[in-house]
Amino acid sequence: MGRALAAFIWVMTILSVWMFLDGRWWFPKSISEHGPAYDQQFVLTIIVVGVAFSAAQIALGYAVWRFRDTGDGSRAVYSHGNNRMEILWTAITAVIFITVAVLGQRVWAGLHFQPAPPDSNRVRVVAQQFQWNFHYPGADGKFGRTDPARISDESLNFIGLDSTDPAAADDSVVATLVTQVNRPVELNLTARDVTHSLWVPPLRFKQDAVPGLDIKVHFKPLTVGQYEIACAELCGQQHYKMKSFMLVLPEDEYRQLVALPQAQFQTQVTQLVRKYPVKYD
């Protein structure tokens, strides 16, 4: 029984490690500026995790194999412990864990401890059951006023854009997040009913969109293309298909698009969506 258990533990360990190393089940290729640093930290952590996991399981398997009662009448070692070992392994564990913990703050700090760079493009995000609304300020660069009382899905005014505000005249609201390659983008996230969460896997970025809050985040996409947006906070029965898309456009296409008046914005977005198919490496 001990030998069988040891064998299972070792086989399970090998298979588990193999699953991570296999390569089929990994992140999609990073498209953001902070992505490589994220991936590096993840790999470092997984190596620490993998070593600790494997060492513990192998030791457990070994102990269970080697120290089984063989019926020869001999007794176990009468030991209540070893204080020196306790201090040693506690100290080593603490150093490793705290180091990983501190290193694990770097990407976070880079994204969230400073405001968006001044040259960022800005997009307002209003999440709702069950679609994403991305609000663009238009050629004047100013977001028109919004008022929840003006929201009307029937008239397609999902975010309550106030048409009496002159700044709103050139604003566009579409379901696609459009960004410019190599340029930071600042999102102002909110939601108009329940909490949702914006999640783009190749971006290595996720952020809850909370009613009553205006959450400012920023990141910089580096690769032109189209990527899927999924909702990552339970928001109701259609949570599983609250799907949208993020476009990362070359500078000229981006500039051209955001200068377009409301009437042509959506049409152009639709064309660009066709131009850049969703493709993950």
Binding site: L5, F27, R75, H80, A101, H112, P211, L213, I215
Partner: protein, 641 residues
């Protein structure tokens, strides 16, 4: 083993006196109702908790199998489902809200009515008084009330199956019930956010009260009712675990109760604790205009301030039982007893400072996230200490592979597997991708849904002889162990891969049939269907394997071989008394303790275990093996070869 204590010995004063008397608490009850239904005997109450948990776990397990089936084969027409739930599964096809109600009920039932009942209310209630040498808990009537209140909570949540609306079998907010969805979901016409949500809150509120009634009992009993010679450092580690767990429960459940009341008020009394103003459902609904000024994040703070200690409430008793059982069947003292006690306290204490790691992306200040992250990774240190000490206990051992031992070893393996990924999830940076993915599911299921369950199985197989006076079948125990051990790894290890790929939580399906074609909804999940299918088959097989345990349990209750006082040749106080113990636990004799709880393989001792009640003087004069009643081969064979 004949006791050398004078049965009429009376306590002197001092720290061990307390309220302990010779059956002073209550006389043995008479009549079926007083004996088995409204009993104030901690042993009966413990068994009642265990039976409650047993019923709950099979309900929760069935729900999880249904969830897995929908994830793997969405759009399938399941005839039985269609007949039972024509609205939730029209033509037998499970609707998204039906799935979400399964998610919610599965989580709620498992976390509260399984993980927070059996380990503490079940085994703790039964064995804490006996292991410290008391004749009952400090407050037996309160104890009885805590069980019946828990049962009331279960009745309410089970009622939610039938009263949440036609298309669901419960509320649909997840076991975490985040507002605004849980506050205004009904106004938004989200199915399962009406009466089901109210019942959910009420059930949990009742459960909070029940938990508080129980927690106080544990603390007072352990501090005041220990028998003579049972100093704190001679207590079994199970007692330390139940003690720490009770403190955590006492401090965390009131916060959940408060949060639940506030949410209930938001739903029914027009308050705005968690609901901000300016909301809309797209068609100008009036009811939303009544809200203003509330904070959805406030709920998360309150919930997780409870929720994080809760997961330690779920695992600590299993850790105590594992230490206890490993030592027993390794025939070796626990390695680093003091460090183990310290580690449990450290885990319990730090457990109160880390709740924000559930909320890194919630919109709370990123600086707060930083603080929570550092504290979270610190909890890994006492957890690692415990793992090292478990390995140390096995090192140089003479392991007897009984069924409880197999599950205890399994606990160690699973706790390592599940706990170690905390190192990933506890980092703010890495949470940017991992939050709300299957990586989180893998992590918490391995620790809570498997390691903690293995702790319960180990405890059940270990203590069944004492509780019921009969042995469980070792053969069936091993037949239960193997598919379970293999199965749980097959279910939850692949979920890490799914999470890395980006599979989100609480999605009712990942592919659907459009124009006759089965299409992945998200292209980035295209590499996952094979894993999904494998996990589902593993889940189905593992679920069925649990029927072996159920059969063994029921069969052994009636036909198991009679158990001696000490079939495992163990050292602690529950093994000096008959199986099952008499009403006052020790038959009028007050046990006196002379040594620590884990004196195995003591050099020079006549046997490889020394009971806690063995005084030093009699060691040399100990009767030869075979002449006393509390003997066995220690492997459950009860003397038969």
């Amino acid at each position: 083993m004949a006791e050398a204590t004078d049965p009429h010995e009376v306590h002197e004063g001092g720290e061990h006196e307390g309220a302990h008397g010779h059956g002073a608490h209550h006389h043995p009850p008479s009549g079926f109702i007083r004996k088995y239904i409204f009993s104030i005997d901690h042993k009966v109450i413990g068994i009642q908790y265990l039976l409650l948990a047993l019923v709950s776990v099979f309900v929760g397990l069935t729900m999880s199998v249904l969830m897995r089936m929908n994830l793997t084969w969405p759009g399938t027409q399941w005839p039985v489902l269609g007949t039972l739930f024509p609205d939730g599964a029209p033509n037998g096809v499970m609707s998204p809200e039906f799935y979400l109600s399964l998610v919610t009920m599965h989580g709620t039932i498992m976390v509260f009515f399984v993980l927070t009942t059996a380990p503490q209310g079940g085994f703790g209630n039964y064995f804490l008084p006996i292991q410290v040498g008391a004749d009952d808990m400090a407050f037996p009537v309160l104890n009885m009330l805590s069980f019946w209140t828990t049962l009331a909570g279960l009745v309410v949540i089970l009622a939610a199956i039938f009263f949440s609306g036609n298309s669901v079998v419960g509320p649909t907010g997840g076991w975490t019930g985040y507002p605004p969805l849980s506050a205004i979901g009904d106004i938004l016409n989200v199915p399962g956010q009406g009466m089901g949500m109210n019942l959910w809150i009420i059930s949990i509120a009742i459960f909070c009260v029940a938990s508080l009634l129980g927690a106080l009992n544990f603390i007072v009993t352990l501090l005041n009712l220990r028998t003579r010679g049972m100093s704190l450092m001679r207590m079994p580690l199970t007692c330390w675990a139940w003690f720490t767990t009770a403190i955590l429960a006492l401090l965390s459940f009131p916060v959940l109760l408060a949060a639940g009341i506030l949410l209930f008020l938001d739903r029914t009394a027009g308050t705005s604790f968690f609901v901000p103003g300016g909301l809309s459902n797209g068609s100008g609904i009036e009811a939303l205009r009544n809200y203003s000024g509330g904070s959805p994040i406030l709920w998360q703070h309150l919930f997780w301030f409870f929720g994080h200690p809760e997961v330690y409430i779920a695992i600590l008793p299993g850790m105590g039982a594992t230490s206890h059982i490993l030592s027993t069947f390794a025939r070796k003292p626990v390695f680093g007893y003091r460090a183990m006690v310290f580690a449990m306290f450290a885990i319990g204490l730090l457990g109160f400072f880390v709740w924000g790691h559930h909320m890194f992306l919630s919109g709370m200040s990123p600086y707060t996230g930083f603080a929570f992250s550092i504290l979270t990774l610190s909890i890994g240190v006492p957890s690692a200490i415990k793992t090292f000490n478990w390995l140390g206990t096995l090192w140089g051992a003479r392991i007897r592979f009984t069924t409880p031992m197999l599950f205890a070893i399994g606990f160690v393996s699973l706790f390592v597997a599940g706990g170690i990924t905390g190192l990933v999830l506890g980092q703010t940076s890495l949470d940017l991708s991992m939050h709300d993915t299957y990586f989180v599911l893998a992590h918490f299921h391995l620790v809570m849904g498997v390691a903690a369950i293995f702790g319960m199985f180990a405890g059940m197989y270990f203590w069944f002889p004492k509780m019921f006076g009969r042995m469980m079948s070792e053969r069936l125990g091993k037949i239960h162990f193997w598919p379970t051990m293999i199965g749980v790894y097959a279910i939850f290890v692949p979920m890490h891969a799914m999470g890395i790929v980006g599979m989100p939580r609480r999605y009712s399906q990942f592919h659907e049939v459009i124009n006759g074609q089965d299409v992945m909804i998200y292209e980035f999940l295209r590499t996952t269907p094979g894993l999904v299918k494998m996990v589902t088959w593993a889940a189905i097989l593992t679920a069925f394997a649990q029927l072996i345990f159920l059969y063994n349990f029921v069969y052994s209750l009636f036909r198991g071989e009679r158990a001696s006082d000490n079939p495992w040749e163990a050292t602690t106080l529950e093994w000096v008394t008959p199986s099952p113990p008499p009403h006052d636990n020790f038959g009028g004799k007050v046990p006196v303790v002379y040594r620590g709880a884990y004196e195995y393989s003591v050099p020079g001792a006549p046997q490889d275990f020394v009971l806690q009640t063995t005084p030093d003087e009699t060691e040399a004069n100990a009767p030869p093996h075979g002449e006393v009643s509390a003997q066995g081969q220690g492997d459950g064979s009860n003397g038969h070869r």
